[in-house]
Symmetry: C2
Amino acid sequence: QQIMHEVYSKLSSIKHVVAVLSSKGGVGKSVIASSIAIYAAMHGKKVAIFDADMHGSSIPWLIGLRNAFAAISIDGIIKPVERDTIAVLSIELFLKEKNAPVVWRGPLKTRTILDFLSRTEWGERDLMVIDLPPGTGDEALTIAQTLKDRINGVVLVLTPGLMVSHVVTKAYEFLKMLNLPLLGTVLNMAYFKCPHCGNVYRVFGSQPQIPNEGPLIEIPLDPKLAEAVDSGQLYEFLKASESEGAQ
Amino acid sequence: QQIMHEVYSKLSSIKHVVAVLSSKGGVGKSVIASSIAIYAAMHGKKVAIFDADMHGSSIPWLIGLRNAFAAISIDGIIKPVERDTIAVLSIELFLKEKNAPVVWRGPLKTRTILDFLSRTEWGERDLMVIDLPPGTGDEALTIAQTLKDRINGVVLVLTPGLMVSHVVTKAYEFLKMLNLPLLGTVLNMAYFKCPHCGNVYRVFGSQPQIPNEGPLIEIPLDPKLAEAVDSGQLYEFLKASESEGAQ
Ligand SMILES: Nc1ncnc2c1ncn2[C@@H]1O[C@H](COP(=O)(O)OP(=O)(O)O)[C@@H](O)[C@H]1O
Ligand SMILES: Nc1ncnc2c1ncn2[C@@H]1O[C@H](COP(=O)(O)OP(=O)(O)O)[C@@H](O)[C@H]1O
Ligand SMILES: [Zn+2]
């Protein structure tokens, strides 16, 4: 189909494509996706990050571009917004009123994702990171079906707790169904270490029970990370604590 | 339209309808929705809970029905699964393989929600709680448009942090757009109190900045609640700690 051809040609100058997925919301997908992009940029890579979450797009906020606007030229070409060597595209960058909800049904979300992928000039990039919304619906399906030959790997994100493991196991099954390679799993908010007395608590419950393919990276629940996110300073936070580097 | 008529007739024996919404995932919507239903049942009310989250349905797990199955009779009538005085309906109750992902696009999700609402025999109920998935997409839109004259109020759930506030403000706008009344807001995981030294930490960042209409209820990040959820013992946990009662 014509649009697939356009998508592949627009992505032809991107070396690697990684998607960040979880069937569960609020586990830290956007923070992890942004951290991967920022970390790669800190190591001299040219990066693109595509926010496929139409209803809760947080990528511009996390990259420090919360008040930026993307533009579409009269011939329909979309230019992403850049910060250092990271090019960002998100529906949020097109909202005049940043608090406005995107109240769209599936077909419109799908068409917008295909529009974004087929009309954006990303330029030369070493890596593209795709942040997916929670669930295995229109967005994840469209990205998986459109980019199945381009996605090099998927990072799965979850938090502790058996109920969350149950829901995130569905994401593993989704990857198998669509033949997408799993790069590794991030167990986020794995524990909280009291800064005062040093006691460690698994605040969200048991260790996950998930099909354990590839590396498992644990990230603690860290109030300093939350503060950095609050103030849109994730970039600065990661620079200062090189060790936190998610991937 | 014919289906609207069927929906209203199936809900005619339900006194109040409350929806639980957040444009952000993982904030505790399912835990709050289940807690409201369990709390009402503990006080002698007849309750129904409808899980409109197709991709991450956790309600059967939370009500202690994770291995239960719902049935459809040959004339197409759906009977919810009951525990005490709570009737539960969720896509999860129809999955033979409970780990299977529901990989559906918007139109199929919409049709399933309308099917569930127009064919389920709820019986006499004092209260119906509707758990919505994150976002302002097909599910929230279908429920809001179909039940706009039946929904008595919406409970909004969020966690601390300015980025989450930004995304959840979109849910407030959504309620205004659709003229749905706001009952109150639950600030979940508001703080963590170290069981050992008593220090209190706002692990997710700043107090939310949201349009503050109606009461704001704060619930702490509580490892005991997470453990109860893990083992499907939310019912027992709430009974034991009457004080925790969410609403
Ligand atoms: N390890 C962590 N420690 C503290 N806060 C975190 C951590 N990871 C994520 N957060 C916070 O949790 C919230 C949800 O993260 P987000 O990346 O938006 O999740 P998702 O994209 O899965 O919905 C954000 O407010 C973020 O600041
Ligand atoms: N106050 C709390 N303290 C500890 N854990 C909580 C609390 N509220 C929710 N959780 C845990 O957080 C996770 C997400 O909750 P859930 O209700 O599934 O969120 P949502 O429905 O918004 O995606 C679950 O594992 C649940 O056990
Ligand atoms: Zn302590």
